[in-house]
Amino acid sequence: MRGLNRWAYLFILPFFVIFAIFTAYPIISTLITSFTNESMATMSTKFVGLSNYYSEITSGLFWKSFGNTLAIWIPNIILQMAIALLLAAWFTNSELKLKGKGVFRAIFFFPNIITVTTIAILVYVLFDWQHGVINQLLFGSGTAETAKYINWFDRGWRIQLIIGIIQTWMWFGYTMIMLMAGIQAMPVSMYEAATIDGASGARIFFSIVLPYIRPILVYIIITSIIGGLQMFDMPWVLFQNQGGADQGAMTMSVYMYSRSFTWDQNLGAGSAVAWIMFGIIAVASFAYLKVAYGKEDRQDGIN
């Protein structure tokens, strides 16, 4: 028996080695860097204690970037959940007898497999002020119409809304498939029992289906909190280190990257931002878990 065990450890070893090199080491190294004034621009480094943390927490732009991140994420998660739930409910409802479910599922999932950069460039071209398709569709293309064109990227809130909606479009298909999987795992007998008791379709959905798929909802929202608070690629490809109008596209990750590698190239402060972000995400995730699983029914929570 002992011999077998040793072999098993050997087989799982690669994971731990890779984890140690590419995850554990960078995390610890970032923590150490965050206590120094290490900078790309200067060749000397010294220990500065907690001053990076202090200057970042008191920085207006850092909190603005936090607000921007939420302003992109919150509309996105609400919209995404609403659309995904509705579609999942339709697609799993056997009474509707929908045809071509598989095709729709694939189409809705499709945006998720395109690289974000590609989509960002597409957005840039579509929403172009003078030559973008969106303005041409909305207003036409004569001289008088051109004067009415909207400069989509000239207000922070518009940038945030556009990015939020594109994120929704990219992720609702994925969320929908997750939810469908959860709903389909429900025993048919539960539906039948509810129908016999005279429950309506809406009643079944809200009182039976939703509580049943709660672990999946929690999973989706937690991963979305983590992914959403780390949003980087689309805002960066669109607006780089200045964050567009009103710095609206400056998310926390863009801020962290810009602080570390552009601007004053301050790796120490950038590392501190990374750790503050880690704290925020951890707190948000735990807080949500607490809300989602109240004390009384913790046992039937995650399983």
Partner: protein, 422 residues
């Protein structure tokens, strides 16, 4: 317990394996150059060098926007640093001040800069007055206008006559209004208001930041915002962002269909950007902007710990010291050289088919004499970017100047917390 020991053993092994590669780079017959573009290859410089010395060149290309992100970590760790690295005008001052490049005015290099345009030498000199980088080119800029439009709306396409409209900013805006009126709003003076920025950035009297980290916002910046907002408010630009697809297309439209009167571009604009735009061939004329300016330029540094310094110097020597080679190269490519004597010896013989035979070389030579780089500082790219971003927040051109200046200063303070911004 045993497994954990094995685990640490493996990690340790990997660590030492990575260390063992960390031996000093060996002297070799291969010169590594980390460049922002493949121009050395497409312009045949590398081929010439290889033929001349028998060495091989390993050209690594990192785009301009990523260049510092790539170069700084290499310099910091001292691993895989190229023998020659570059600095673009917007950050060359940071590169030369890192203390990572050799002093080129000392032996064995003894670079001769007596014949170079002073601004080109100034840019490659660090804060202590030590020459750290050299360039083969000079990048004075002008304004490229459409001959067909000039003829139609101004009655002449000769550069001397068109120049009258570009002697001051007021005259230039006046010209925009004439074009707008006569074409019923069809023809725009410029592709975008932001295109004018480079002219003002190059004309600052003082750098953005001094050695004690005090930020200074030159009056040229508010002048830029004022002129740009006038252009936008009066509807004189096509509202295109620089380098976007429609912006590029404006360079290539046929003479009869052109809607944009002029483009603000330097020397390299001619052979990098306009070259190959077949539809507009010969429809361009070149005049000077209301203020002389330069835009861009690439400076070459030799890594101070490189084992190949000798070979690296041979490369830089060929491009910046060898007048015979420089003359041949300039004639072949049309690049504007940093060496005055070379420029003077060939300027009368040059002309460009893009410009309908106008002599761009003699034109740029006049401008290069007037350039001054005393206001260049290490973080120009970032701060110019801030100015552009703030200008972009006023798409209608209705700038509240005081507020815009406040926003610029605020962003500078946020991005450079250790600076004093007043």
């Amino acid at each position: 317990m045993k497994t954990i020991t094995t685990l640490f053993f493996c990690i340790g092994l990997l660590y030492f394996a990575s260390c063992s590669q960390n031996v000093a780079q060996q002297k070799s017959n291969v010169l590594t150059i980390m460049a922002m573009s493949d121009e050395f290859k497409t312009n045949g410089v590398i081929q010439d060098f290889e033929k001349m010395t028998g060495a091989k060149v390993d050209l690594q290309i990192v785009p301009n926007e990523q260049y510092m992100n790539k170069l700084l970590p290499l310099l910091k760790t001292g691993k895989d640093v190229p023998d020659i690295f570059e600095g673009e005008a917007g950050y060359v001052k940071q590169v030369v001040n890192l203390g990572m490049s050799v002093n080129l005015s000392k032996p064995p290099y003894n670079a001769d800069t007596s014949e170079m345009y002073p601004y080109a030498v100034q840019m490659g000199t660090d804060d202590h007055g030590v020459l750290r980088a050299l360039t083969w080119q000079c990048t004075p800029g002008g304004i490229f206008y459409r001959r067909s439009l000039a003829k139609k709306y101004l009655g002449t396409d000769s550069p001397e006559k068109v120049q009258q409209y570009f002697t001051s900013w007021d005259k230039m805006i006046e010209l925009g209004k004439i074009l707008k009126e006569k074409s019923h709003g069809q023809v725009k003076l410029l592709p975008g208001e932001g295109d004018l920025g480079v002219i003002f950035f190059a004309n600052k009297a003082k750098p953005y930041v001094n050695s004690s980290n005090d930020f200074y916002l030159d009056p040229m910046i508010s002048k830029f915002l004022t002129v740009a907002s006038e252009v936008r408010k009066d509807g004189l630009d096509a509202k295109l962002s620089a380098w976007s697809a429609p912006w590029m297309e404006g360079l290539n439209t046929k003479p009869g269909e052109a809607k944009i009167f002029c483009y603000v571009l330097p020397t390299w604009g001619l052979f990098f950007v306009m070259n190959g735009q077949k539809n507009s061939l010969g429809d361009w004329g070149l005049v000077s902007a209301p203020m002389s300016y330069y835009w861009g330029g690439t400076w070459l540094n030799i890594y101070k710990k490189s084992p190949n310094k000798e070979l690296a110097w041979k490369f830089i020597q060929m491009l910046t010291q060898n007048t015979k080679y420089m003359t041949a190269y300039a004639k072949r490519i049309g690049d504007f050289m940093s060496n005055k004597v070379v420029v003077d010896s060939i300027k009368s013989t040059m002309s460009s088919p893009l410009l309908d035979g106008q002599n761009h070389y003699a034109f740029f030579a006049q401008i290069a004499d007037k350039l001054n780089a005393s206001a260049v500082s290490p973080y120009d790219t970032t701060i110019d970017g801030i100015v552009g971003a703030v200008l972009g927040q006023y798409p209608s051109g209705d700038i509240n100047l005081q507020k815009a200046i406040g926003q610029i200063k605020n962003r500078v303070k946020e991005e450079f917390p250790q600076w004093t911004v007043n």
